[in-house]
């Protein structure tokens, strides 16, 4: 009996792994990219240099890949650029900056380098929310919610629309 059970289980492993793509819930990173893009629609920058709006990621390839699907959109009538920045000295050239898990250790340095430059900072790292990053994305009950730090945005001369604040889970 044990031998037969063992054979049975081995046969199970041998079965091809099957998967059915279903379109109900949408993939996390595609959704996060859509949120990041939408945040830029509700943000007013003092100026948009050369009429471009640059969204930057530092380490995260996953999000950059998803953001590129928005390249044909024109937020505020500007050309949308998606960049991955490896040299931190260039982060001031971004209008929006997405901070991922890999950037955790660098946060104090990043915030110091930004020196209240008008760069909208966004993160999905729970530990970074409330530490000077302007918008924090969280997952709650299979849905994405976000928190906004208006103080940090104000210091950087960014104007966040009241609609954005009204949709936020919490505002401080």
């Amino acid at each position: 009996m044990m031998r037969r059970l063992a054979c049975f289980i081995v046969a199970l492993i041998g079965l091809p792994f099957t998967s059915i793509g279903f379109a109900g819930p949408l993939p996390e990173y595609a959704m996060k990219a859509a949120f990041v893009y939408n945040f830029t629609l509700f943000t007013q920058w003092p100026t948009l240099p050369n009429n471009t709006l640059r969204i930057c990621t530092l380490e995260s390839d996953t999000l950059k890949h998803e953001l590129e699907k928005f390249k044909d959109n024109q937020p505020h009538g500007a050309t949308l650029l998606i960049s991955r920045i490896s040299n931190l000295d260039k982060i001031k050239e971004c209008q929006a900056l997405y901070l991922s898990e890999e950037d955790k250790k660098r946060l104090p340095v990043i915030l110091a380098l930004l020196e209240n430059a008008p760069v909208l900072t966004i993160t999905d790292v729970p530990e970074l929310i409330g530490k000077g990053v302007m918008i924090g994305i969280k997952t709650e009950s299979k849905r994405i919610v976000f928190e906004v730090d208006t103080q940090a945005a104000k210091k950087s001369n960014l104007y966040l629309s009241s609609k954005l604040l009204s949709l936020a889970k919490s505002v401080y």
Binding site: S19, G24, L26, P27, N38
Partner: protein
């Protein structure tokens, strides 16, 4: 419920088949939206459900060393029932079981029967090693059910700079689940080979006022197995040709409760296990009752607050105790022994961010081991002791991708003197997703009350002159992660000990400070979450541990390989987890050899097999491989102990929502 094992197996098979063909109970998620994300409004996005990408877990432990993680999902997928089974699957760790306790080996060190105090066990930040033997309880004697564990992190390498005494070769950091993870009442019933039954009832909830509550109770009964020990097949009629029956039973009860708010936590736990021991240790009468009872309790409070914008404070106070009872027969005369350990401790830890390029961590700790009592017919000893510690660490950002971590801890013990444990580490990210960590760290361990004071008047004598042992290790860790889906880790280390506490052979045991030992090794680990939810976790470790005479360390395998693969089956109805653990041959201190082995385990689990019902079936030792562990010296004449053959474990979990 004594049923012949075969009929149990038959019933299990019938159950598995029933599960497989009842696929109509599974509802395929329906296509609810064709949302074009590039045009979606924020309101639409907020209403949209997401499917969370399966990510490789990231370490919580803040350490510049190599960290391996087992998550709650792994525990379910591979059907782990004890902490020992979890740790067995991790990089470079191996477990030795002597049918009484599970002993943990790692970083070249693996002396069987020597309690696992050289790797520190923390549960939610509370030190769990008892203060008589420094044992960390990893089997059914462990304090927490594996189903309550959110994750286990193994931080390899000396960790005294943060944790002080006992964090000698590494730290095991267990983080328990929150009430919100359960969100209701859960009842789990399990049944397995050797007439083992377990029941657990857990209630967990996040209340309206954001207070999170978790309460759990469980009990396990196992009749155990019959054994044949050739060493006792010696013609002595009392030894019954080396066969032992009804000498392997174990029973345990556990309670665990945790209540927490946003910045505080109260937790408490209780565990009692009684175990019949079939191996007649310390020359006890073979085939007579031999019994160990281990009871552990703890209660702990933690509080976190921001003292200012740049200064955080964490306070922790805990009390724990441990009670051991042993019963044996020598030439027909009953022998009773017991020991009691009680302690309380408190710690204040600060994190300061005053300077952009410095993260400072500093703190002070006090611990009072006010009872460390050993009582045998030959000795009655109670040695209290206190310790005071302080530590300071600074993580300095040198460049955008270069950090220097400096730290030191000072511990003072009223009985064993003092010790300084420094660490220096350099962390470098040469390119995105690559991390290099080079560290040198020093750790210490004080002799245990057992090593210093225990005697049974015949086989073991005390040594009041035992001194603190030390270890220094240098390690280079290279890690690459990409896209949250893959991680590769390689580490190379060398470590040497000073005054290592060792024992003379049975039956004239005395602990003494040995000369230097030296270990070097390399370890690799690969984790990958592939398409279709296929998860791979595999590791290999080579270790070479030598004592001052150049002799190979007892019970220390040169090669350890682990392989864990899991994948969904039948449209995600099931999840299958295949596990292989390979351990190369080992030699005991008395030069007995145990050959290498590869152990295969297989688990198939299903969520919502019926509404609110989860099921899992685990077959351990799938190919019924005969393999042996090196026995502790004190079980002489038994030198190797055969381990479990193929065994089954079925668990049904029902959630009352």
């Amino acid at each position: 419920m004594p049923t012949p094992p075969n009929s149990t197996n038959k019933r299990l098979l019938a159950l598995v088949l029933a599960f497989l063909f009842s696929s109509n109970t599974y509802a395929e998620p329906t296509d609810t939206s064709n949302l074009d994300l590039t045009q979606a409004s924020l309101e639409q996005l907020l209403a949209q459900e997401i499917s969370t990408a399966s990510k490789i877990a990231r370490q919580i432990s803040d350490a510049p060393s190599a960290v391996s993680i087992v998550t709650a999902e792994d525990i379910k997928t591979y059907g782990y029932r004890t902490l020992a089974e979890i740790l067995s699957s991790m990089r470079g760790l191996n477990i030795t079981n002597d049918r009484a306790y599970d002993f943990l080996g790692g970083r070249g060190y693996s002396s069987p029967g020597d309690y696992s105090g050289r790797i520190m066990l923390l549960i939610d930040g509370i030190q769990m090693n008892d203060n008589v033997y420094n044992q960390s309880y990893l089997g059914n004697d462990g304090i927490v059910d594996t189903e309550l564990i959110e994750r286990v992190e193994y931080v390899s390498g000396p960790g005294s700079v943060t944790y002080g005494n006992n964090a000698f070769f590494g730290i095991i950091n267990v983080i328990t689940k929150n009430g919100a993870n359960f969100d209701g009442t859960e009842l789990a019933l399990s049944s397995g080979s050797y007439h083992t039954r377990k029941a657990r009832l857990t209630y967990g909830k996040r209340l309206e006022n954001n207070i999170d509550l978790l309460i759990s109770a469980s009990g396990l009964n196992s009749e155990g197995q019959s054994f044949y020990f050739p060493a006792f097949n010696d013609g002595d009629p009392a030894h019954q040709n080396g066969r032992v029956r009804n000498q392997d039973a174990q029973h345990n009860q556990r309670l665990f409760a945790k209540i927490q708010g946003s910045n505080w936590l109260l937790s408490t736990g209780y565990s009692h296990r009684s175990k019949e021991v079939p191996t007649a240790p310390y020359g006890a009468d073979f085939n007579r009752q031999y019994f160990y009872g281990d009871t552990s309790k703890f209660i702990s409070g933690q509080y976190h607050t921001n003292l200012s914008e740049h200064l955080k404070l964490s306070l922790q106070t805990d009390y724990s105790d441990y009670f051991y009872q042993g019963k044996a027969y020598y030439s027909g005369t009953e022998w009773l022994e017991n020991s009691t350990g009680r302690k309380w401790g408190t710690e204040a830890k600060f994190v300061g961010n005053w300077f952009t390029h410095h993260q400072l961590v500093f703190g002070i700790a006090y611990r009072d081991d006010y009872e460390r009592k050993i009582k045998t017919p030959e000795v009655s000893s109670d040695r209290e002791r206190q310790s005071t510690s302080m530590y300071l660490q600074d993580e300095i950002t040198l460049r955008n991708n270069l950090w220097l971590n400096l730290g030191a801890r000072y511990d003072y013990f009223t009985d064993d003197g003092d010790s300084v444990s420094p660490r220096v580490a350099l962390i470098y990210e040469p390119a995105p997703s690559y991390t290099l960590r080079l560290s040198h760290s020093v750790a210490h361990r004080t002799p245990t009350a057992f090593e210093k004071y225990y005697t049974d008047g015949s086989t073991q004598s005390p040594n009041h002159n035992l001194k603190i042992e030390r270890v220094a290790a240098t390690e280079l860790v290279i890690e690459r992660r990409w896209s949250n889906q893959s991680r590769v880790l390689a580490t190379i280390y060398e470590q040497s000990t000073d005054n290592m506490i060792s024992s003379t052979p049975y039956d004239n045991i005395q602990y003494f400070n040995a000369k230097n030992t030296h270990t070097n090794g390399i370890e690799f680990e690969l984790e990958h979450h592939a398409q279709y939810d296929v998860h791979l976790r595999t590791s290999y470790a080579y270790q070479n541990s030598r004592d001052a005479e150049g002799e190979w360390a007892a019970n220390s395998p040169h090669h350890l390989a682990k392989f864990n693969l899991s994948a969904p089956l039948f449209h995600h109805l099931f999840r299958a987890g295949l596990e292989v653990q390979a351990v190369s041959h080992r030699t005991s201190a008395l030069n007995t050899k145990a050959s290498g082995y590869a152990l295969t385990n297989f688990t198939v689990s299903a969520q919502q097999i019926l509404p609110n019902l989860d099921a899992a079936l685990t077959v351990r030792n799938l190919f019924d491989k005969h393999y042996e562990h090196i026995a502790p010296d004190y079980t002489t004449p038994i030198s190797v102990i055969a381990q479990d053959g193929r065994n089954l474990w079925l668990q049904l979990t029902y959630g009352f929502k």
